[in-house]
């Protein structure tokens, strides 16, 4: 089908631009690895309580969940306003390219970038911080569906949020605070059960908390479930929350996405 063929062509073009743009490559792709190295080196050996679990092991789960946010939400919410401003979107609008092909290109780029990022994150974790990898097929299956649902939800939210920055320049300043706040409140940099109740409640509204929790079910032993706030990794609830956010994200993206800058119709 034509739309699919053009969409796949756009995946390649999008990936070239993603990796060749130094700001984007560092900010969206390398940052989780840099953070893993820094946090792993400082706190990595510390044990969480008397659980026998190292902070590195806990942190790598949070960093992989964050990677979903970086490669999809942060990447798109910053790059699309730039493309709206520099004329990329306008040029595409003037070609016979079906609009769906544009979104196929974005989604494909996000998935490929995430797979590459996770691969490197895990390699760094294993080589430098002695991370244990999941061994059961259930954990691997969980890892896959959590990644896919998380990427879809955050991709749609990134497309929707791309209308918030009015200009391409400065878009990062409106996007990265959202990412940082969610990371701090969702159990990426701190152990989630140590956070104040109100912060836990706040984070529970958004998908990142559920992604980090589910990734912990993949990377931590089953006994670690007892350390969770509700004594469980709550995978069923996680799936439900992600599906709700996908529906919400699809509605927001459809209603709010713009091809042209505001005030130019």
């Amino acid at each position: 089908m034509n739309t699919l063929r053009m969409g796949l062509g756009r995946v390649g073009i999008e990936l070239k631009q993603f990796f060749r743009d130094k700001e984007s490559a560092v900010f969206n792709f390398l940052l989780p690895m840099i953070l893993l190295v820094i946090f792993g080196s400082v706190f990595g050996g510390q044990e969480l309580g008397d659980s026998g679990i190292t902070f590195s092991q806990y942190f790598v789960a949070g960093m992989i969940a964050s990677g979903i946010l970086y490669t999809s939400f942060q990447n798109l919410a910053i790059s699309i306003p730039m493309e709206r401003e520099d004329g990329t979107l306008k040029r595409l609008q003037g070609t016979p390219m079906p609009r769906a092909a544009f979104f196929i290109g974005k989604i494909g780029m996000v998935f490929v970038a995430y797979v590459a990022q996770v691969t490197i994150l895990i390699a760094v974790g294993v080589l430098f911080f002695g991370i244990d990898l999941p061994t059961t097929s259930f954990a691997i299956f969980t890892f896959i569906w959590v990644s896919v649902l998380g990427l879809i939800a955050w991709t749609l939210l990134g497309i929707a949020y791309s209308v918030v920055p009015k200009q391409g320049r400065g878009a990062a300043a409106l996007v990265s605070p959202v990412v940082l706040v969610l990371q701090f409140t969702s159990g990426v940099f701190f152990v989630f059960s140590d956070l104040p109740q109100w912060m836990q409640n706040f984070a529970s509204l958004f998908p990142l908390k559920w992604l980090t929790q589910a990734m912990r079910s993949v990377f931590l032993p089953d006994t670690a479930a007892a350390m969770e706030v509700n004594g469980s990794f709550e995978l069923g609830l996680t799936a439900l929350v992600l599906v709700i956010w996908i529906i919400l994200g699809a509605i927001l993206a459809t209603v709010f996405f713009r091809w042209t800058p505001r005030g130019k119709s």
């Binding site: 063929r5 004329g87 609008q93 003037g94 016979p96």
Partner: protein, 288 residues
């Protein structure tokens, strides 16, 4: 030459809030013809062009491009258009060759990317990043992307802004070649020599109205002669249809030699400036 019009606009209007960008514009462009739209900044050139390209919705009037209402653009219709927008800076991290080859995939009947690259003179820059191109090279890439789909209609919005004179000449030759292949062209430009060279007809737009339309050699006061001389320490100019009589009159006034006398045919620029000045005089009261 009297083939059916490819582009027609009849009484097209467009408002932005209180500002009337187009106050009833009518133009037509026939198959294989090049129409140049001339006018000051803010006169409505780009608004008119973008309405015909399908980017903006007109508020009133009728329009048709290749038999399709541009208010209702379709993919099949866009496949027959080539659009060169004003100064673009997008896709800086792709190479020239990647960009042209990629855009060829969007069209059902594309031209050969290597031939297009050669036609716009970018073969040597095939592997350069778009962001590293000079202004003129970047513009030629825009033209390459405009013609890669073998368009029946090509829209050129100020295509040579920022070109050096030699690059502009080369660009004209390129567009001439497209024209001789039967491509219909709608050009907006600030350069009157460009309109003179490329356009079969020109339309002068001011404050959202067409103030003159016709062949570049016939619009406005182009039939006139311009007589210039020096008097009272200043250069004087007079546009006239009877230059011989006027010079005799001057000669009598100076009782002999007229200082710095010159007579020439009115250029397109003279005609254009005269039309814009007339428009200011007749409509100047409402907006300064």
């Amino acid at each position: 030459m009297s083939s059916a019009p490819v582009i027609t606009a009849t009484d097209v209007t467009k408002r932005y809030g209180d500002f009337t960008a187009l106050a009833g514009v009518s133009i037509h462009v026939d198959t294989g013809e090049c129409l140049a739209i001339l006018g000051p900044n803010g006169a409505g050139k780009t608004t008119l062009t973008e309405i015909l390209e399908g980017y903006r919705q007109r508020d009133g009037g009728q329009a048709s491009v290749l038999g399709v209402d541009p208010n209702k653009p379709t993919g099949a219709w866009k496949a027959k258009l080539g659009i060169v927008l004003q100064n673009a800076t997008d896709m800086a991290d792709l190479t020239v060759s990647e960009t042209i080859k990629h855009f060829a995939r969007y069209y059902p009947n594309p031209a050969d990317p290597d031939q297009v690259m050669a036609a716009v003179g970018l073969t040597e820059k095939a592997n350069s990043r778009n962001g590293k191109l000079s202004g003129g090279q970047r513009r030629r890439l825009d033209v390459a992307l405009g013609i890669i789909g073998n368009p029946e209609v090509l829209f050129l919005d100020e295509p040579t802004t920022g070109f050096d004179p030699e690059a502009r000449r080369e660009f004209w030759v390129l567009i001439d070649r497209l024209k001789s292949n039967g491509t219909t062209i709608l050009l907006t430009t600030h350069y009157l020599d460009e309109a003179q060279y490329l356009a079969d007809r020109v339309a002068v737009i001011a404050r959202g109205r067409i103030v003159a339309q016709g062949a570049p050699d016939s619009i406005g006061n182009r039939g006139d002669a311009i007589v210039t001389w020096t008097e009272a320490g200043r250069e004087q100019a007079q546009s006239t249809t009877t230059p011989t009589a006027f010079v005799e009159e001057l000669s009598a006034r100076f009782a002999g030699e007229i200082p710095h006398l010159a007579i020439r045919r009115a250029s397109l620029e003279d005609a254009y400036l005269e039309l814009i000045a007339q428009d200011r005089q007749t409509n100047g009261g409402d907006a300064a």
